[in-house]
Amino acid sequence: MLNAIKDAVRKSSIHVCIVNCGGCNGCDVECVALLSPRYDLEQYGIYVHNNPREADVLLLTGAVTEQWVDNLKRIYDKAPEPKIAVAVGNCPQSGDVFNQEGGHVHAPASDFIPVAAAIPGCPPRPSEILEAILAVGPQAIADRGREQE
């Protein structure tokens, strides 16, 4: 019963924080485009405020650069439970083009924090990002909540 109430509440109020850990910011602008009236993120009960301390979903973009090796875990720990991380773009999954000789990246991001879902693309379309958050968000948050109890 309690869980059902919790799920219902969480489902219609997902707070999102975009964490750019070193990409080309192409993915970030696509996340910003989600806020535009065309996609209107807020009608789905998703709210982007970029504050890790209030976030349910961390949208990870970028290929984890040197500076983020420690900071990524710190930011993740700051977010209150239950929380999930969704990797946007190729960068956090494989390092994309930056993961070659000469590059300073430490992809994949899942080496540092648990990643619940990944959206491939360089960058993925805003509609794909939206779809992914809506598809995995509520269930993954609920599951994570059960784990914590």
Binding site: C17, I18, V19, N20, C21, G22, G23, C24, N25, G26, C27, D28, V29, E30, V32, A33, L35, S36, P37, R38, H49, N50, N51, P52, G62, A63, T65, E66, Q67, W68, N71, I75, D96, V97, F98, Q100, E101, G102, G103, H104, V105, C122, P123, R125
Partner: protein
């Protein structure tokens, strides 16, 4: 007291750390800490073919990704002594200006967001989507277009593309006037940004501010003047203002949008028939080219040994703009909120800026100055 902001903060869209030194409410000084998105692109490009290089150069920065590929391609073309077909040059102008429109709208929307003016933020983003649609229609991608190749462009375009683009431009124009007036004449916003974040022309030159940020302070450089396509075939007005405050910077960006729209129209009207790509015989050598990206001048210096790139050095506008922002604009700003808004008007693009950062063994990051890379 020092107020640190970032790297992840509601008002910032990219990771950076602002250290604001405050006296009471007032912000007296600011310092910017870079290095969160340093990926080492220049090092990766070394020893690769141009096909790989241009792909990587596009990912220097996602917002103004187009201008990077164009400058890269033009540098290699200059080394190899080839002339790009005129039709390809016109197609490059179309994409370049569409990219400028969307980037300026995005820059302004970030500023409105940092001022907490949701209405304008939404309106500007709504207009931006039309520019994004046009870009997607023409090139197939929204952000990283992959449109340029050495020797021309990747695909041809025809009426089926041009007609919807012109329609989209009309839609942008329709909403644009009112949006601009809302900002320029609305009392609440103007009060909060007139006279804030002032930078004089002298300081702008000293800080090497470029692009709309420099032009809002009276600097007159626009590197589209001097580019062969623009010089020979296009008419446009360089927008300049003299106030040098947040208001002027935002308005400069707004006023450049109709100019870009007219440039796209001119290009579509006068586009000549012909080839879109010439075969290129790669030569070895060194060349440097400057182009006007949405945020100012982008410089590419490339040395090749025939087929491979031996050395590449990229200079992007953001580093100079952000530096002059910290040094000159954020100085005696009334509140912390205004300091963050001032930072947003300098249209920072962190991903661009962070490829010349050198991290030495001690972990100290230093930024190369313009003189050093020249």
């Amino acid at each position: 007291m020092i107020v640190p902001i970032g790297p992840i903060h509601p008002a910032l869209k990219e990771p950076i750390r602002l250290k604001l030194q405050t006296e009471g409410e007032k912000v007296v000084k600011a310092e910017i800490e870079y290095g969160y998105v340093h990926r080492g692109i220049e090092k990766i490009i070394e020893g690769k073919t141009w096909q790989k290089g241009i792909y990587l150069s596009e990912r220097v920065c996602g917002i103004c990704s187009y201008e990077h590929t164009q400058t890269f391609a033009e540098t290699i073309e200059q080394i190899s002594d080839v002339d790009v077909p005129l039709r390809a040059q016109f197609l490059r102008v179309i994409t370049n200006e569409l990219d400028r429109i969307q980037s300026h709208l995005l820059g302004n929307s970030t500023f409105f967001k940092s001022m907490d003016h949701e209405t304008l933020f939404m309106r500007v983003l709504e207009l931006r989507e039309y520019a994004m649609d046009s870009i997607e229609l023409l090139t197939g991608n929204r952000v990283n277009m992959g449109w340029n190749v050495v020797g021309g462009v990747r695909m041809d375009a025809d009426e089926r593309h041009f007609k919807p683009i012109l329609e989209n431009l009309e839609k942008i124009e329709e909403g644009f006037e009112r949006t601009r007036a809302l900002f320029a004449e609305g009392p609440a916003l103007a009060l909060r940004c007139k006279g804030i974040g002032y930078m004089s022309k002298k300081e702008a030159i000293k800080g090497r501010a470029v692009g709309p940020i420099g032009r809002a302070s009276g600097v007159k450089e626009d590197y589209r003047n001097g580019h062969y396509t623009y010089d020979d075939h296009f008419d446009f007005k360089v927008i300049r203002r003299t106030e040098g405050d947040n208001y002027a910077r935002t308005l400069t960006r707004f006023d450049e949008i109709p100019e870009s729209i007219s440039l796209v129209r001119q290009a579509i009207e006068n586009i000549p028939d012909g080839e879109i790509r010439t075969p290129v015989d790669l030569k070895s050598g060194y060349a440097m080219r400057k182009n006007e990206a949405p945020r100012g001048e982008v410089t590419y210096m490339i040395e090749t040994n025939g087929s491979l790139i031996k050395n590449i050095s990229i200079r992007t506008p953001s580093i100079a703009n952000m530096d002059s922002c910290a040094k000159y604009m954020i100085r005696d700003v009334p509140t912390v909120a205004d300091a963050v808004a001032t930072y947003a008007t300098s249209d920072p693009c962190v991903a661009c800026a962070e490829r010349v950062a050198i991290t030495n063994e001690a972990g100290k990051t230093s930024i190369k100055k313009w003189d050093e890379v020249r």
